[in-house]
């Protein structure tokens, strides 16, 4: 019992350290630096400690310090309670999603089965969608409570966009469900040990639509109408400053990681290396004993998982700095007239193929 508790605590700490502690600050640096290098610029390199700039990595620390020390401003006429609540409602679901995301398989360490997922829910996939939709409330509350026209417009756009794309996202996932016939994320991950059963081969159209819809869910370019700088200042977080503003940004960056992990989990073989099964990996490190080989394999699997996540983060960043913003009507058209029928067709075709193969 105590051991279970400790193991769970370690897993929670690991996930928090990776997402909030590592990815969220480092992605602010990655975004600046990658965009700079893509556009033939140099990028952030001014923040230094004792003359060492380390490619501008200290900008992450400088940003955090700035966020902490800035005045926390609440405008007159704003609803103080909701204004304070909104960033929390936005950031908590982003972190909470990781509770059901497995970042490794099953390993027997010191005679004990350790499953590298915090909560192995039977409805893990549904849980992710349920939690992700809660974040919408955070953005709408933020826009409404700020008592600002731009914020309200941004909030309305957020609500419209997120609801439209959640439909596509949900319908796309049905295709994945039909293929794997389970909602348990650990099982979905384990099935993909076989390279030919990776989601990308079983659901190629589903992958593209899921990727599009999840970028739209995250409100990043080309779907960043809710916070379009050139149109409505900063959208729903116009009136936010200091750490509350930072929390909205953190939510965005953590969601990038979430999208990357879900994409890896559902479509790109989770923690598996192509053509290398867990059993063969274990036999390679057999000389280390059961626990030793399991630890090595666990580390390899976690490393592979996060490498894939990082590749997806890179792709998202590339998309963000390549494409221009869609117009509002184009977003709605893409969501309702193209992606929704396509996802329905995807379900139909998947169903027919499964029926034919039986």
């Amino acid at each position: 019992m105590i051991v279970d508790l400790i193991v769970t605590l370690v897993k929670i700490l690991f996930i928090l350290a990776v997402t909030v502690g590592f990815f969220a600050p480092i992605l602010t640096w990655v975004e600046r630096k990658q965009s700079a290098i893509m556009q033939d610029r140099v990028g952030a390199n001014r923040a230094d400690i004792l003359g060492f700039t380390v490619l501008g990595l200290f900008h992450a620390i400088a940003d955090a310090l700035k966020m902490f020390t800035k005045e926390d401003f609440i405008p007159d006429g704003a609803n103080r309670a909701l204004h304070t609540l909104a960033p929390i409602v936005a950031v908590v679901p982003a972190i909470l999603t990781f509770a059901v995301v497995p970042f490794g398989g099953n390993y027997s360490l010191f005679g004990k089965e350790v499953n590298l997922v915090i909560a192995d829910l039977d409805v893990g996939l549904l849980f992710i969608f349920a939690i992700a939709s809660i974040a919408t409330y955070g953005y709408v509350i933020a826009g409404w409570s700020s008592n600002n026209n731009w914020s309200l417009i941004g909030a309305m756009r957020t609500a419209a966009q997120m609801i439209s794309y959640e439909v596509t996202m949900g319908l796309t996932i049905i295709g994945v469900l039909m293929v794997y016939s389970t909602m348990k994320l650990t099982v979905i991950g384990a099935i993909q040990e076989d390279f030919l059963r990776w989601g990308i081969f079983l659901q190629p159209l589903g992958f593209l639509m899921f990727f599009t819809a999840s970028i739209a869910e995250n409100k990043r370019i080309p779907f960043d109408n809710p916070e379009a700088e050139s149109e409505i200042v900063a959208g729903y977080f116009t009136e936010y400053s200091g750490l509350k503003f930072g929390m909205f940004f953190m939510a965005e960056f953590i969601e990038i990681v979430t999208i990357g992990s879900i994409m890896t989990l559902l479509f790109f073989g989770a923690w598996h290396i192509p053509f290398v099964s867990t059993a063969s990996l274990l036999s390679i490190f057999d000389f280390l004993g059961t626990t030793g080989s399991n630890i090595v394999v666990m580390l390899i699997h976690v490393g592979v998982f996060f490498t894939k996540v990082i590749i997806f983060i890179w792709i998202q960043m590339t998309i963000r700095w390549t494409l221009p913003r869609f117009r509002y009507d184009q977003i709605m058209k893409l969501g309702w007239k193209i992606l929704l029928p396509l996802s329905l067709v995807n379900i139909l075709v998947t169903g027919i193929v499964i029926l034919a193969l039986q």
């Binding site: 033939d40 610029r41 494409l323």
Partner: protein, 189 residues
């Protein structure tokens, strides 16, 4: 002619599919990303002097100014530390901004010594417009535009440079001197 924007552009099927064009765009940006990223590595290893990126880290790195660049005017200095200037006052007259102020000194009949020299030679860079007329007017090749343009001060009075501050070894200005000789010869000044 009024500028006309055609808002009803007919897209081909290939373009309507979005995805191929998006991939094309992403390939272009990724190519820039990787070329620049690989261009960084030899630079940081010290194998290459220049990055693939043209941005200059300004205070640490400087671009070489072209020789025709007109920075702050300075006085070339002889080997013995005296100026070439004979305090004729032509640059003072040529200056459209009246930023040059010369107090001449005169030889009282001693043999084998310079006849005239400036006791005080002051240029107020807060007033100077960097036109280069003083350089053109000077008959003695005694004032030249250097390539130094970083002359910002917190105090307006410090912008006034006196003779000692203005004197520059002639070797540093040799390129500019050669340049002006050819240019002014060509234009038949």
């Amino acid at each position: 002619m009024a500028y006309y924007v055609n808002r009803n552009v007919k897209l081909t099927l290939w373009e309507k599919l979005y995805l191929p064009e998006i991939f094309r765009g992403m390939i272009i940006t990724s190519r820039h990303f990787f070329v620049n990223l690989l261009g960084f590595i030899p630079f940081f290893l010290g194998k290459k002097k220049h990055r693939e990126i043209f941005t200059v880290y300004y205070p640490e790195e400087m671009v070489d100014y072209p020789i025709a660049y007109r920075g702050r005017p300075v006085l070339p200095m002889k080997e013995d530390g005296s100026p070439y200037c004979v305090a004729c006052g032509l640059c003072e007259i040529a200056c459209p901004a009246y930023c040059i102020d010369i107090i001449p000194g005169e030889n009282s009949g001693k043999q084998n010594e310079v006849e005239r020299w400036p006791l005080e030679f002051t240029i107020d860079y807060a007033v100077c417009i960097f036109c280069g007329n003083c350089e053109e007017a000077c008959p003695e090749e005694a004032i030249y535009m250097s390539n130094d343009c970083e002359i910002s001060m917190l105090d307006r009075n410090k912008m006034k440079y006196n003779k000692e501050q203005l004197l520059t070894p002639v070797a540093e200005l040799q390129d500019r001197i050669d340049f002006t000789r050819t240019m002014y010869a060509k234009w038949n000044y």
